[in-house]
Symmetry: C2
Subunit: 480 residues, 2 copies
Amino acid sequence: MLMEPEEVCSKVLEAITPTPEEEEEVLSIARSIMDKLRSLLAEEGVEAVVRLEGSLAKGTWLRGEADVDIFVRLKPDVGRDFLKREFMRIARRATEGYKQVERYAEHPYLECWAGGVRINLVPCYDVEKGNWLSATDRTPYHTDYVREHLPEELKGDVRLLKRFLKGIGAYGAEIKVGGFSGYLCELLIIYYGGFLEALRGSMAWRRGTLIDLEGYYRGREDEALEFFRHHLIVVDPVDPGRNVAAPVRLEKMCSFMAAAREFLSRPSEDFFFPRRPAPPGQEELKSMVRGRGTSILALRLHVGGLVPDVLWGQLHRTMRGLSGSLREQGFRVLRAGAWSDEVAEAIILFELEASELPPVVKKVGPPVWAGEHVERFLSKNMADPRLVCGPYIEGDRWVVLVRRRWPDAVGFLKAKLSEHGGRGIGVAPLLAQRVEEGFELLSGEEVVRLCRGAEGFREFLAEFLRGRPTWLAGRGGQAP
Amino acid sequence: MLMEPEEVCSKVLEAITPTPEEEEEVLSIARSIMDKLRSLLAEEGVEAVVRLEGSLAKGTWLRGEADVDIFVRLKPDVGRDFLKREFMRIARRATEGYKQVERYAEHPYLECWAGGVRINLVPCYDVEKGNWLSATDRTPYHTDYVREHLPEELKGDVRLLKRFLKGIGAYGAEIKVGGFSGYLCELLIIYYGGFLEALRGSMAWRRGTLIDLEGYYRGREDEALEFFRHHLIVVDPVDPGRNVAAPVRLEKMCSFMAAAREFLSRPSEDFFFPRRPAPPGQEELKSMVRGRGTSILALRLHVGGLVPDVLWGQLHRTMRGLSGSLREQGFRVLRAGAWSDEVAEAIILFELEASELPPVVKKVGPPVWAGEHVERFLSKNMADPRLVCGPYIEGDRWVVLVRRRWPDAVGFLKAKLSEHGGRGIGVAPLLAQRVEEGFELLSGEEVVRLCRGAEGFREFLAEFLRGRPTWLAGRGGQAP
């Protein structure tokens, strides 16, 4: 029954390698737009190099998921203003007839759609290595590096790694995912010499792993660790000051490591193409929440007008901030998670041991020798109607038992979110503005109500409750 | 209304200085026993020096609380066996007619009672300083030191300090108290030059205070701190290797510091002679426990046959051990306390935020790279019917949410105390033997039931619930 990893890989590879027809179709779209761009630029007297970049240029894209990345390398003396205005005008003209969306990263670029194929028209500066003027200037160098160092026979391995990471939810450098970029996948395959080799290699990873293909830090690895200060460091071969793995969050690094280990001992196509169970219905979800023994809280807010990376950054900060504030109040926060449709609304979930705490809490005051602090602590607490016991001395400190101000998490959050949008308890600034306009706070079974009307939240909630990577399914065991 | 500290002191001094009549009476008892001892020793041909020691010899005892400490200094070649047998026989003969109790410290001694006066007959070796053969050999040197260094006019200050420490419950080096010995009081008065001076001096104390009257460690104070490793170090003037303050627990040191500060700003006789409120009745106690919002647990056990220092050592160890085990299970232990009649039974009290915990707990497993540990963690937990959620990765570790095995503190303690007398959860060995013979575990209002039949427990319980030193009464404020 059990297949060898190599067998699984070759089956998967069949499914993810683009057909020659697809390749021809996508490349011809690319060529026609590039030709148009070139003639428009010439017409306007703009000196520029138009190049195909990204996975299409490197031959590492996945079947049916081609992105056409067309870069326009401009001379360094062209102003930022040109990028914002003239470039966009020319790009729009070059893609007339396609659906167009203006996007922003560090600077604007144009996204177009030809059927299911996305085409990105991105401006950058034609500079020497190291003299970067904009964030996208490195891209052509990345393309060149991979073309030079990735042998033809390893392109499939890059595809396997990308598909594997997609399957386990760790593909993509965007903040929502915090995972591995396509370029990072290519570098890992070049470094380890293959997909299975990379999986095996990851088993030696620890917090503070350094991969330095060009040996920029040879003999001074400690310096590199100190300089980059990250759990996973893959030095950019075209820029020794840049960590290609910087966007990889610790959990995603570890998910990859854990999934790699699991795949090597229980190989299965499910890692690449996870089978998601059909999401449970309202009543089933309610009974899951009810029977669980924990407390689920949901904060729902409107988030229109934020670009995804900003939105997810703010959501993660808010999640951490609110978890911290709940912990400060004594609540035991088991987990938190955030969902958003990226257009209109977001929901942050918290799972607590209990949303109500025992009424009395211990308050540890100053050490007995801290004169004025002692004076203040004693007079304040001895006058407090919430005092239950003390003041007494424990170790070297004054201590009291007092009734909690906030024994109920819902009450606490409602009250504090209504003050300045919750800035005081860790809501990130842009979301605090939205909270000030209104929010909903639900608990227990009520949370299930949010599945109606919020596309995709049902799946998110079901996965949150299960809280188990699908790729552990091969082990059987208790359903969580 | 407010008196000056000096005024309070002189009023207290009147009350605690022995009258000439008392002094004469006690000294004549001492003299007659010493004479008898000397002639019996001579009769038996035992070469020995009979001396009066302790507070009576130093003139620092409190009115109505005289102890007659008679030491017999034997030649170093006298065997330990002699101390155990011959000495006790002679001591008994010397005190015929008095009520006699054989006591044990490092070696046996005889305690007798003449009315309300206790007389201790203690053997020791007549050795040079430093060549100590038994724990009591230092005593005559202590007496000599104090006699030489304590001026007549400061004897009252020693009495004030002793009475002050008694009033705040910090007098006595025995393990039950963990406070200041009489000798330590004398040294502090010699060092600071007076009672109020000692109180003021204590305001500069911190963890790691060094008082070195003879300057043994002058210029190498850090070494002394390192050598003694204690929060309060008072180097014995007759033995540089001994810390006279070693028995002083941090809390008692800090109680003294805090009470000193309080007395200096709100002087009152109450510090010396605390007014204890009449203990509440059964119903009042019950309603105090009920309305409190915390959970009180009581473990009652039989403790006959243990000498006080051993008993209290075991009780404190057990209290710490059980508190730690409860905390490990997730219970928040607010406070603990121990009571005993020192004859038959003991009660250990615990106050918890709640004796029942939410049903689900987070279990943090190994980091993802810990191969075998991961394998064990995943297979164990995925097969566990108590699994609620996961396994999932948090940070770099595998985590699960599982139903608690012991959500109820009473259930936990009952089960674990029934296994080997609770040795596995921190019951000290000698008490574990007693627990094996039987114990009672009570919670909430039930605890009040223990007041019937356990002399003195009612007062202890009431003070435990109030948890406030009586000497804070001068501040008024909320009743706890």
